[in-house]
């Protein structure tokens, strides 16, 4: 293989299988005789449970068991706090099945196990729970007032965490400022809505005492750790497999959800395989969500638009529990200054308990909110100072010669200092300016306005700290029989194309075709060192671990081949699965090398004869494997980043409001982005496009609606509007590649990038479209048709002819 695979646009090798419906998702795993679980869930946002009567459900033909908090033994406890942080005191986490109290509509109260899901659902309706409903307050700003009803009596004012970080010396800088701009912005509640809902299947083999769990999770190693601890089993007796997973977007990184431990529990308890396939309504009311934050942000600037200091104070809705700690709020607070120098920052947040589905990261994880706050603020500052929106950004962007740019005092979600490692921010902005046609735009806008049309240009810059540690591993082995390369890592994939990207890294190092790399992840039985898939970290952390391991195997290949071909190592070339001697036709297949490096007693095939004890090549003075040597061609290595690497980008859009329907029409949408060196531009573009589509959902369509009692009123795909392909505009993507200095491949993460800046871009464009007729600033997403209508002059019902 002479052409480099790293950087090549290669089609994802997983797609044919997935598109033909041949994927292997949890529900496809054949488990003969499996029973099925369904949950009884709280219909109240906050209530006391007076009594639970399961007798009618148990009497239902086909029902095998009904579990409540009273018959799940050691599991009746508060679940672990995954990410402790000193800003929280007595952080509240959920019990697998409610005891005495329920805290949100959808919280599991009982689990029914039956011969099939139909019967399980019928019986779940027969579980009689007597609730005594309590008062609730859904509005965060009211929930922190002294007389508000409390979600947890232990937490006055519903405050789960209160945390301030300071960088530089904001007080001095504020005193020196000539202009201050202040605004309140809100990004509201949404959900990941993965195509495949969450899934768990479990089987306990009483003969071998092994528990196997198939779990549509982003964190199989974490789930295994949780199960081994909660069930007091040896790690090697618990195997967690994340098979194909139909999207995760963060919702599946949190563990354990109640079902992730109750399904294995029932499998052990009943001696039968059990499956739980979450349905869409349950995914809405039972699986974690994200987004609501209300920021009050102030920029302190000079008259020429240089921002000296930033102060932000925000409320973060954490839902009824805080199992994932303050991660989302912390990412938001440390991303608040965006790509700008702003040397002095004070950012405070309060995480607020509300009687709603718990909040944990969803693609973007606090960044869309931070981006919305800073970018809307930059637009407002530009407007107030009479400076062009590109220019004000240009004056504040971190310059190329200022990298690495550290923000002392701000600790990122990995506990390490925020440090923008590399970038060409000014160039990216300039590319966006050109691509969107900023210079011609004022004339176009004037023309449109003369015709009574509403045309606007939106702009937003984003940064994304990606590739968090602590570490991942890569394990590589060349199969002696086929000569194919087998690669493992501790991640799990949910459709990102790991199989292809990682194969490209390996293919370059080992001189094989991408199709000869067998990649396996998401199975603790195959590899169990590592963390999980989140925070746009797979390419950075696993990618570099695999790269390092591949380099070791390359060295082994070269040395073994040199030995076998009797040539110096620097004359060995590796191509297409063969080692050859430069300039000759002497070559040898990897399978042969892998076989020869593995001393054998039995010739299980013809090729293996060369490695058996009486073969000429096996003549040794010492033992067949020298001290310190290992058989075959194999290596494991790890990569542990020194800190996050910061990707970034600029979005710009030309939007028009249709005054009749209040629809937002996109005339052009440009995305400039930089994720360092690209392993596969096709996959990068796929990630960016997918993120952008999700961002458009967040900007204009997707909104979790709660009524005043805390019922989620649009828990289905009829009323929760995920945009179709017809609602997503054509998007022009331009790449910049500024290598990260923090890892050998020079890569940065891209998984979340696409979604971050869309809300801010759309709002910026809409505010511009109506700026001649209205003071509407669009400080809230998702933007609804009514908000647009309110921004239009009265009587717009009469459209221009």
């Amino acid at each position: 293989m002479s052409t480099r695979q790293f950087g090549a646009k290669i089609s994802r090798n997983i797609d044919p299988e997935l598109l033909r419906g041949e994927g292997k998702f949890t529900d496809d795993i054949p488990l003969p005789g499996a029973l099925h679980a369904a949950f009884v869930r709280s219909p109240f946002a906050r209530a006391r449970i007076e009594a639970i009567d399961t007798s009618d459900a148990l009497a239902c033909p086909g029902v095998v068991a009904v579990y409540t908090c009273d018959n799940i033994e050691h599991l009746d406890r508060e679940l672990p706090l995954l990410i402790p942080h000193p800003s929280m005191n007595n952080a509240r986490t959920q019990r697998p099945l409610a005891r005495e109290d329920v805290y949100y509509v959808g919280q599991p109260v009982a689990m029914v196990v039956a011969v099939n899901r139909y019967v399980a659902e019928d019986a779940a309706l027969l579980v009689d729970v007597d609730y005594d409903a309590l008062d609730v307050e859904l509005d965060m700003e009211k929930a922190i007032l002294d007389d508000a009803p409390l979600v947890h009596p232990s937490h006055p004012n519903n405050i789960a965490a209160d945390f301030t970080q300071v960088s530089g010396n904001p007080d001095t800088a504020i005193a020196a400022a000539e202009h201050v701009t202040k605004l309140r912005v809100q990004v509201d509640r949404s959900t990941a809505a993965p195509m495949e809902c969450r899934t768990v299947a479990a089987w306990f083999d009483h003969v071998s005492s092994e528990l196997t769990v198939w779990d549509g999770t982003q964190a199989p190693i974490g789930v295994r750790g949780g199960l081994a601890s909660l069930f007091d089993l040896d790690e090697d007796k618990v195997r967690v497999i994340a098979p194909h997973v139909g999207g995760g977007f963060g919702q599946k990184v949190m563990f354990p959800y109640a079902d992730e431990i109750l399904v294995p529990y029932a499998a052990i308890n009943l001696g039968k395989p059990i499956k739980y396939i979450e349905d869409r309504r349950e995914n809405f009311i039972g699986s974690n969500q994200e987004r609501t934050q209300i920021h009050t942000i102030e920029l302190y600037a000079t008259k020429s638009g240089e921002v000296l200091a930033l102060s932000d104070d925000f409320l973060h809705d954490t839902g009824a529990f805080i199992p994932y700690g303050i991660a989302v709020a912390q990412v938001a607070s440390t991303s608040i200054a965006g790509p700008y120098r702003i040397p002095n920052i004070r950012v405070r947040f309060r995480a607020v308990y509300t009687p709603t589905v718990p909040v944990t990261p969803y693609r973007g994880c606090g960044r869309p909110q931070a981006c919305f706050a800073i970018e809307r603020a930059m637009d407002q500052l530009a407007d107030e100072l009479g400076i062009d929106r590109f220019e004000i950004r240009r004056r504040n962007l971190i310059r190329d010669d200022e990298f690495p740019y550290a923000r002392d005092g701000l600790l990122f979600a990995d506990g390490l200092q925020v440090k923008h490692d590399s970038g060409q921010y000014l160039r990216a902005l300039e590319m966006a300016r050109e691509a969107i046609g900023w210079d011609d735009f004022p004339a176009k806008q004037a023309e449109a306005r003369a015709e009574g049309r509403y045309l606007g240009l939106g702009l937003a810059f984003y940064v994304e700290g990606t590739g968090l540690g602590p570490y991942e591993g890569g394990h590589i082995k060349i199969h002696p029989i086929t000569g194919k390369v087998y690669v493992n890592t501790g991640l799990a994939g949910q459709g990102q194309g790991h199989e292809t990207s990682f194969a490209q890294i390996v293919a370059d190092q080992l001189g094989v075709n991408v199709s000869d790399v067998i990649f396996r992840e998401g199975d603790t039985g195959a590899y169990d060192w590592g963390v999980a898939t989140f925070a746009s970290r797979a390419a950075v952390v696993s990618g570099n671990a695999i790269y390092k391991a591949a380099k070791v195997v390359r060295q082994q290949l070269v040395e073994a081949a040199a030995n076998m071909l009797e040539a110096p190592t620097d004359e060995i070339e590796l191509t297409d699965g063969y080692a050859s001697v430069k300039g000759t036709n002497r070559k040898i297949a990897y399978s042969t090398i892998a076989t020869a490096t593995n001393p054998l007693r039995y010739a299980f095939n013809e090729a293996a004869q060369i490695a058996t004890q009486f073969a000429p090549a096996s003549k040794h003075d010492g033992p067949p494997l020298a001290e310190g040597q290992h058989p075959g061609l194999e290596a494991t290595d790890y990569f542990s980043p020194s800190c996050a690497t910061w990707a970034y980008g600029v979005h710009a859009a030309i939007v028009e409001i249709d005054p009749v329907t209040c629809r937002v029409v996109f005339h052009k949408y440009v995305c400039i982005h930089d994720c360092g060196n690209m392993i596969n531009p096709t996959i990068v573009e796929g990630q960016v496009m997918g993120g952008l589509a999700q961002g458009i959902g967040g900007a204009l369509f997707e909104h979790i609606e709660f009524d005043d009692d805390g019922n989620l009123t649009n828990a289905n795909f009829v009323d929760f509007l995920i945009p179709y392909a017809t609602e997503i505009p054509d998007i022009e993507i331009q790449h910049l590649e500024t290598p990260s200095p923090l890892n050998p491949l020079g890569v940065k993460g891209v998984g979340e990038a696409g979604c971050i800046a869309v809300g801010a871009t759309v709002a910026s464009g809409l505010a511009d479209a109506v700026s001649h007729v209205s003071g509407s600033k669009f400080h809230y997403t998702p933007v609804t048709p009514d908000m647009i209508l309110e921004a239009l002059p009265q009587g717009t019902a009469q459209p221009p002819d």
């Binding site: 009749v660 289905n716 609804t784 009514d786 019902a797 002819d801």
Partner: protein
């Protein structure tokens, strides 16, 4: 999201279906299943029995005559949409059908099923009302014709008795020389309309409107005629001023309260705008018809 227990039977003839419907309390007709099956999965309805009418040959036909289109009970939306004779007789059907869900759903969902389902935002009930159409209801004790204006009572409620089967629907042909228009808006393409409007405008030789028919859906509990707007046009020249007046006269027709997507005020704004659009379409379509 699994339905509760139910029985299923496949009717072999019209009589068979009617007999079963008569004998079985709590039974429902299964046509394309695109509305009924999801509702069962959500446990919003729990029929005792589904009587499947898809194997009854008499229901699988469309008849087009000079004065109208008669659509059998299992004709799919998509069949009707692509039927050239139907289009020639009344182009409003194709215009509206293109907005009913998406092609895969139109391939299976039936037009008569949609008329019976009677969603207040559904297009085809509104077209039935606009064109002055009717449905043919049959039970073991006989047959009756129910005009659209009597058929629709409320959101998902019709004048059909529980033992009646709608065997066909009749959409009159477009009056000769009339202009027509259709416009709708849904936030996502193919969703139920936030509002949709249809128009049929007939004029005399001097351009005076002799019969303006306007109907809308998505704005209340059932499809409605926009009579105030019609009155603003009848007897006048359909010029800009008349159209603008008609559009403004639609406001009271909106009775839907604020919902999770939009407010009533938004719907009034939308309906007025769409009304102007369909009237403009109707006038230019009429000019083309004359030319």
């Amino acid at each position: 999201m699994k339905p509760p227990l139910f029985d299923y039977c496949s009717a072999q003839s019209v009589q068979d279906a009617l007999q079963k419907l008569h004998e079985t309390p709590g039974a429902l007709i299964l046509a394309g299943g695109q509305s009924l099956i999801p509702a069962m999965n959500f446990r919003l309805v729990s029929p005792s029995t589904l009587i499947d009418i898809n194997r009854i040959p008499e229901f699988r036909k469309v008849e087009v005559t000079s004065d109208g289109i008669v659509v059998g009970a299992t004709i799919r939306h998509r069949d009707l949409e692509l039927d050239a004779a139907v289009h020639a007789a009344n182009p409003l059907l194709r215009l509206a059908l293109a907005h009913v869900a998406h092609v895969p759903i139109r391939n299976r969902g039936t037009t008569v099923g949609s008329l019976c389902h009677a969603d207040a935002a559904a297009e085809m009930p509104m077209i039935l009302l606009l064109t002055g159409g009717s449905v043919m209801a049959q039970s073991v004790s006989g047959t009756r014709t129910i005009p659209a204006e009597e058929f629709y009572k409320f959101h998902m409620t019709t004048a059909k008795a529980s033992d009646e089967l709608i065997v066909s629907a009749r959409f009159p042909a477009l009056p000769r020389g009339a202009g027509y228009g259709f416009a709708e808006f849904a936030r996502r393409r193919g969703d139920y309309a936030l509002a949709a409007v249809g128009a049929i405008v007939s004029c005399d030789d001097s351009g005076i409107v002799t019969d303006a028919r306007l109907a809308a859906c998505g704005i209340g509990s059932k499809p409605v005629r926009l009579t105030a707007a019609e009155n603003a046009l009848n007897g006048r020249r359909a010029d800009k001023a008349a159209m603008a007046e008609a559009a403004l006269a639609t406001a009271d027709a909106v009775t839907a309260p604020d919902d999770t997507q939009v407010t009533q005020a938004y719907r009034r704004h939308l309906l007025a705008g769409l009304t102007r659009q369909v009237l403009a379409q109707a006038v230019s379509a009429r000019k083309e018809a004359i030319a």
